[in-house]
Amino acid sequence: MEKQTFSGKVALVTGGANGIGKAIATQFAKQGAMVAILDVVLDVAKETAKGIASDNQEVEAFACDITNTRQVNRVIKQVYERFGCIDILVNNAGIGDTSTPIENMTDEQWERMLNVHLSGTFKMTRAVVPYIKERGGGRIINMSSQTGMVGEADFCHYSAAKAGLLGLTKALAKELAEFHISVNAIAPGVIETTYFKKFTEEQMAKKRAVVPWGRLGKPEDVAYVAAFLASEEAEYITGQVISPNGGRTIVGI
């Protein structure tokens, strides 16, 4: 059998039941990886895993709330026991929120956003790193957003969390390089997932109009970047942020 990009590798994708996470899990499995899909919605995650798995690929779903340290540590151990190792971690799990000007933003909104995106990524990474070290190296990919790069009005909590992920990414890249673990972030533009189903066509048209490339992103646009970063091809890339955003967000050097 032809050797594929991720033959013999185990990838863990949080928030892998739907949207971008699902597309990433799908792409990894397509290229030969065994995949652990972690999500809070176990039934959907199981459906997704079933849909992706084939004769050659092992894909399994695990229920996990990444904000819960105990749960995280327990589930990671389960993933390790199930698959025997962990090579790639994609910290993709996230939540949205309605737009909220700062004077109206509650403690609960602020804390929840930081808890899931920033603390959740930290807790998951802390738990997985020993296993990747055991493998002699691997990849960590954190899901930021163009919002983390340039901010978005009425989403100061999301902007802070997604920007925080970039600082976390860069620190860990420097810290884990000697163990041959590369750590990078993806900062997508607006990606059309079921999250946007509640938006009107007029609202979506407005978002589309400001993208030079003339379309919104697809989950696959992000999945290809993740697959590239996780591959041997991208071995020399660490501490970096790649932003598939159709030209919407072009930042300083």
């Binding site: 032809e2 050797k3 594929q4 990009t5 290229q31 983390g148 790069m149 920007a163 970039l166 860069k170 890249a173 420097k174 390089a177 000697e178 041959h180 590369s182 533009g189 030079p212 490339w213 003339g214 992103g217 697809k218 646009d221 290809y224 970047v225 697959a227 590239f228 591959s231 091809e233 991208a234 071995e235 020399y236 890339i237 660490t238 501490g239 970096q240 942020v241 790649i242 932003s243 598939p244 955003n245 159709g246 030209g247 072009i250 930042v251 300083g252 050097i253």
Partner: protein
């Protein structure tokens, strides 16, 4: 043959500075990914030899010599690609030169001008020549070779740093300008890469710099080629105006 995640079958690529080093590695990878490739370089003999070595039959690999900083040559090279292969899908503005270090008070006009001419003006001229063709096709992908020196500067290389930083501004402006025509423009900013150009620097300095790289090694031309080919490919369709940095963690810049 191992199935590759990003294929370039049926595409036509023009790679400048392709007779050796990073340019040759890019041409090599594109060829192996299924593209037809025109290697261009200042040195006629070297580029012909490189092309012949890559594909003796010369069916999918051709060579052309030219100076990217010359308007006439830039037009001539692009016309050559059009004549041989009928189109240009990919342009890789890689041509560049090295130099020993010079503090600014010792930097002569000639050296400053040469550095800007080859790297920045050359990238501009080649792009200007290729864009009309890409516009008629309604698509294209351009990758410009910057450097971590362009992102953060390198002392006693103010000319190189200025040129490589200038390429980033050029890249971003053109990304915004050409998006509506289906043309993506990105840059790659490599770290320290093991090529002949490195030989002009003292060996002990390079050895020291290597110890400062988080991933513990210098980069290879293949590290850069992988990044370039990913950006050129359809898998990177939603990426434009961006800078990708294979540098082993050496240069990690602000958001």
């Amino acid at each position: 043959m191992r199935e590759h995640m990003f294929s370039c079958g049926g595409k036509v690529a023009l790679v400048t500075g392709a007779a050796q080093g990073i340019g040759l590695a890019i041409a090599d990878k594109l060829f192996n990914l299924g593209a037809s490739v025109v290697l261009s370089d200042l040195n006629t003999e070297k580029v012909n030899r490189a092309a012949k070595k890559l594909e003796p039959s010369g069916e999918r690999v051709k060579a052309i010599n030219g100076d990217v900083s010359s308007t006439e040559d830039s037009v001539h090279m692009v016309e050559f690609v059009l004549r041989e292969f009928g189109k240009i899908d990919y342009l890789v503005n890689n041509a560049g030169i090295g130099t020993p270090s010079f503090p600014v008070e010792k930097m002569e006009d000639k050296l400053w001008e040469k550095m800007i001419a080859v790297h920045l003006t050359g990238t501009f001229k080649m792009t200007r020549a290729a864009v009309p063709i890409m516009k008629t096709l309604g698509r294209g992908s351009i990758v410009n070779m910057s450097s971590n020196a362009g992102q953060v500067g390198d002392d006693e290389y103010c000319h190189y740093s200025a040129a490589k930083a200038g390429i980033l501004g050029l890249t971003k402006a053109l990304a915004k300008e050409l998006a509506e025509f289906g043309i993506r423009v990105n840059a790659v900013a490599p770290g320290i890469i093991k090529t002949d150009i490195l030989a002009v620097q003292p060996a002990e300095l390079i050895a020291y710099k290597e110890t400062q790289i988080p991933l513990g090694r210098l980069g290879t031309p293949q590290d850069v080629a992988s990044t370039v080919c990913f950006l050129l490919s359809d898998q990177a369709d939603y990426i434009t105006g961006q800078v990708l940095c294979p540098n082993g963690g050496r240069t990690i810049v602000g958001i």
